[in-house]
Symmetry: C2
Subunit: 349 residues, 2 copies
């Protein structure tokens, strides 16, 4: 039997000939308990190797001090870093974090939500999956009066807070950067437009083109997923065009990497002939050859802020749900894959 050795406040109370209530109060540092008994209880609790049963406590108090985080994949740099940020901010407050993966399936997402709600989680952080269209399962969270914070990928649901990147601006900055590197035929490897983030990056791209009087060419937009291979295929398609692009702005680093591989296979020089910009600042972008320019999403901060938004939400013991929308500025990390000036300098020397 597993519970064989479990010691409860009852055991302590019997040993000390006091009531269980007093033991509970002593352990919880209730102010109206004598210093003497408090010390005594603390001491014997340690001696008897007492462990508080958080299940019982949670059942009684209606809160578990657990929060859930749902992400598409845990091994994406963005997500693991955001989780780290949430962790750093919430651990000092006594919260523990349950991490779930949706594997980009709306169905899994719904199941994870159910599981978390059943487990009486105190809050949910989530980045919606690519395939999430409906909002029924999100509504369940709200109906349950469980605080919810979206990060990075959100869905428009009234009353839900979110912490996201300014993806429109990011798309604009990336494109503008390429234009300033003297690129004029800029292709865009877009993610699934159903996700706001990709739509916004795309819109930012178009706006930059417009501002710099470059005509938007729909043939230059290829939809990719976040696999290397899809980046390769995109180059295949683009290089079938009469007017080959002279720059690639990819909405994801993996597709950017694939594109770069395919370009190199075709002996196309990067950045001299084609510049490449990726998105997410995955660790590998720094180490591949050439290093890839990429958009940093300040994920650690994203996680911390999401956690803070959550903490504010639970602090208010009012029923009114505050809706807070935080938008973070992106930061372009320029590396060799799009840095033609670097080459001009070398040539001059």
């Amino acid at each position: 039997m597993k519970n064989k050795g479990k010691v409860t406040i009852y055991d302590i109370s019997k040993k000390l000939n006091i009531s269980a209530a007093t033991v509970s109060r002593a352990l919880n540092n209730n102010p109206k308990i004598s210093e003497k008994t408090r010390a005594l209880v603390a001491k014997t609790a340690k001696e008897m190797n007492y462990k508080q049963n958080r299940l019982a406590q949670a059942l009684k108090q209606g809160r578990t001090n657990n929060v859930g985080v749902i992400v598409p994949y845990i091994n994406r740099s963005l997500f693991s870093s955001v989780i780290r940020g949430i962790e750093e901010e919430l651990t000092p407050h006594g919260y523990h974090i349950i991490i779930c993966q949706s594997h980009e399936e709306a169905e899994n997402e719904a199941e994870q939500i159910n599981a978390l709600l059943n487990t009486q989680i105190d809050g949910i952080f989530m980045s919606v999956s690519r395939t999430t269209q409906r909002t029924d399962h999100i509504q369940k969270i709200l109906n349950d009066h469980t605080p919810l914070v979206f990060f990075d990928r959100k869905i428009e649901v009234p009353g839900v807070s979110s912490v996201v990147l300014d993806d429109f601006k990011a798309g604009y900055i990336a494109t503008e950067h390429l234009i300033k590197e003297d690129c004029h035929k800029i292709a865009h490897l877009s993610g699934d437009i159903n996700l706001e983030i990709y739509k916004n990056r795309f819109e930012g791209y178009k706006k930059a083109l417009k501002d710099y009087d470059i005509e938007f060419n729909p043939e230059y937009v290829i939809q990719v997923n976040s696999k290397i291979e899809s980046g390769m295929q995109a180059i295949d398609e683009l290089w079938n065009l009469d007017e080959k692009p002279d720059a690639i702005f990819s909405a994801g680093d993996y597709a950017a990497l694939g594109a770069m591989q395919e370009l190199r296979a075709r002996k196309i020089k990067i950045p001299q002939e084609v510049c490449v910009v990726g998105f997410s600042n995955e660790p590998f972008t720094k180490y591949v050859e050439p290093p890839i320019t990429s958009m940093d999403q300040t994920p650690l901060m994203m996680g911390k802020i999401a956690a803070q938004v959550f903490l504010e939400q639970v602090k208010e013991n009012t029923t009114i749900s505050i809706e807070k929308k935080v938008v973070l500025p992106p930061e372009l990390i320029v590396r060799e894959s799009s840095d033609r000036k670097l080459y001009n300098l070398s040539d001059a020397s």
Copy 2:
């Protein structure tokens, strides 16, 4: 109030004018309940949007159907893949997975264990942190009669099952491969020898040298951590020697990458002048230039097997703890960084 809308079996029982016990039984598909009432209960439960309170259930039954996984970092390819494997195997059995990170700190590890035990977890999977020396916190798990399975990185504790790689063999194979590529001055970037895995890889390396009559040179062994930079420093040290190595076997992919960068900075040709072999088959090894030969640890399988070991353990409702030690065979993925034959062929053509 969060619990405002919570509906319990009591509410259902009142609505149907039956006892809560009957409702409970009906929902749990107890065989001795009439089909009629079962259907009725199921129907109204759905109507009233009833959600079982897993906390109460867990408190009553003494099991939560939650398991904990503790890893150093979730964003390492090995760990995230193992987690995926555990997930795939355990989800169909109704388990949910709580993922924790130790960040390589024994102290964090101990805290996570405490937290998990308090939450009344049904089992713990863990890969010990680099700084873990003592086994007190591990003993706590055993004292609690909570099933424990080590994966990849273990500590010798009697009665604990484990699923690990055959690191000795892996070290041997990697070294042998380099020897067969005609390398004779093979350096080893070792991890912290306090961890069994690194010790075993090192021993395998030495054994291969011995079997092929190559003298072991302690100057060729540099300790690194899993950061790029430490791989660079290792090359700095090695290239101060009179006899420069002609091959690098690194116990980690990140150090291997750093080593490769530093070698390239010194205009040393890979693999023509120096061959490089890494460890873990991180995704990036395939995409850097040149692609890095690396040891695959079949992490998905590792996770699945660990889960199976756990399931066996909980199936036996006996008190005897079965100790099962699974050792998986490594698989060397040969890529350009150590494939001299590739170059010989090209030269010949």
